[in-house]
Symmetry: C2
Subunit: 153 residues, 2 copies
Amino acid sequence: MSVKDDVVVRVAQRRDVPDMVALVREGSLTPEAYADTSLDPVYDAWDELMLDPNAETLVLDLDGRVVGMAQLNYMRHLSRGGMRRCHIENVFIASAFRSQGLGAILIENCLDMARARGCGLVQLLSDSRRTDAHRFYQRLGFQASHQGMKLYL
Amino acid sequence: MSVKDDVVVRVAQRRDVPDMVALVREGSLTPEAYADTSLDPVYDAWDELMLDPNAETLVLDLDGRVVGMAQLNYMRHLSRGGMRRCHIENVFIASAFRSQGLGAILIENCLDMARARGCGLVQLLSDSRRTDAHRFYQRLGFQASHQGMKLYL
């Protein structure tokens, strides 16, 4: 059996927080942002996320092990007739399980969630250095149409 | 007096919706998305936005005329110690009032709002064709560090 057959996409639970933080840390291009290993502020964030009806976190669960994650935010704006959109952040697959199709399963599920919420658009920012990720998203139908800009306060 | 001295940044009101839609339409690179001129779905979006504590819309008011706008969404994730971030969409300045410093006033106010909410990061996607806008954001401190990707459902 391949991992694709065994993996389950489910909504994240509070008990998944340590595993999710490990995924983020492993996949980060900025390890210096993870020098502080305290989980307290992350649990604070989690508890706030749980109360936000427009936030959703999905994990890939392989026999009880969290091997992937994505965070979704649903937003509405005044453009395009008040179209609802889905913004995706923190897409990570555990290094030991990459290149086996799990990322596509995860993102296809995100697209399904967005459709179910009535979104007309899904968007994300991907670090310019992640050229493999850009090709991955393009294979799934994303257009590399925008410049993603960030300012740390 | 310059318009910079007279302009006021304020939170948008429901009565501003027609003016804001006119700004979005005027500034859009995809006029085909605005063939339907009905405001009903936009008012639906507005009413939903009003109930979202993590959404905020700012307008530039010049003697009662709406000459600019920006929509902010506050999001929290599990990365960077649960850091809160501000995502900006729909930044528009009325064509008759461009290149007079109003955009900088608007974005500086967005950054102030983000700081007041405890955000550590402000981010946005800007269409790759808007090279002037990219330079504008870079002058304000944004890094063009990411690829912005979109998929219409």
